[in-house]
């Protein structure tokens, strides 16, 4: 991993059009600003990893399970708020 030391209001460039700026350092928290083209999505890593895991868990369910699911209907208003 490349390690760089930066102070508040200093930036790092990734490629020609992604700029990561340290905005504020306070205690053990760092506020970071990211300027990137819209084609590059930016996420907190833990949220993105959670979504990856959820997608993998949901992918390609067994065909036997699908038959039962097709019969499942949304709960009625009464079932939803007993």
């Amino acid at each position: 991993m490349l390690v760089l030391t930066r102070r508040a209001n200093q930036s790092i460039m990734i490629g020609a059009d992604v700029v990561v700026t340290v905005l504020e350092v306070r205690g053990d928290q760092v506020r970071i600003g990211i300027d990137a083209p819209r084609s590059i999505s930016v996420h907190r890593e833990e949220v993105f990893r959670e979504l990856e895991a959820a997608n993998r868990a949901a992918a390609s369910p067994a065909s036997g399970a699908l038959e039962g699911l097709a019969a499942l209907r949304p709960p009625t208003e009464r079932e939803r708020r007993p």
Binding site: S39, H43, R56, A65, L69, L72
Partner: protein, 141 residues
């Protein structure tokens, strides 16, 4: 809107893939079960050496199971999908099928947003929204 999204949008294109499946971009929507079924299957058309054949996801309209669900779609996704108004967007959520099926859950943290005119699609990532990846489809009794 027809009863099932599969008739309305036969093919979707995810330019950026999906988290965990970055190389799978083209999908067809196929109805799961009869015409009253709230579910469809999102089946990939892409395969290759690193991709299992025909990755599938079960999807549903979140409004059917979660009437209060109102995710905020950020400007980046709206721009990427060229959404000009809220009416252009169709929302789907991925279902994790469980045994028994009544214990199945929906991913409300990462809804699928579709431009219903161009069929461009993307999975949103709703950080800080409070929504979870496994919300019960059927409330616990």
């Amino acid at each position: 809107m027809s009863a099932n999204v599969a008739e309305e949008l036969p093919e979707l294109h995810f330019a950026g893939g999906l988290p965990g499946f970055p190389d799978v971009r083209r999908f067809v929507l196929v109805r799961l079960g009869d015409e009253h079924s709230p579910f469809s299957v999102l089946r990939s058309l892409d395969d290759g050496p690193d991709i299992a054949p025909a990755v599938e996801f079960v999807v549903t309209h979140p409004s059917l199971f979660f009437p209060d669900y109102e995710p905020e779609i950020d400007d980046d996704i709206a721009a990427r999908l060229e959404l000009k108004s809220a009416d252009d967007a169709l929302l789907l959520v991925i279902v994790t099928v469980a045994d028994p099926v009544a214990a199945s859950t929906a991913n409300l943290l990462g809804p699928i947003v579709v431009n219903r005119h161009t069929r461009a699609a993307a999975q949103a990532v709703l950080g800080n929204s409070g929504y979870a990846t496994r919300e019960a489809l059927v409330p616990h009794r």
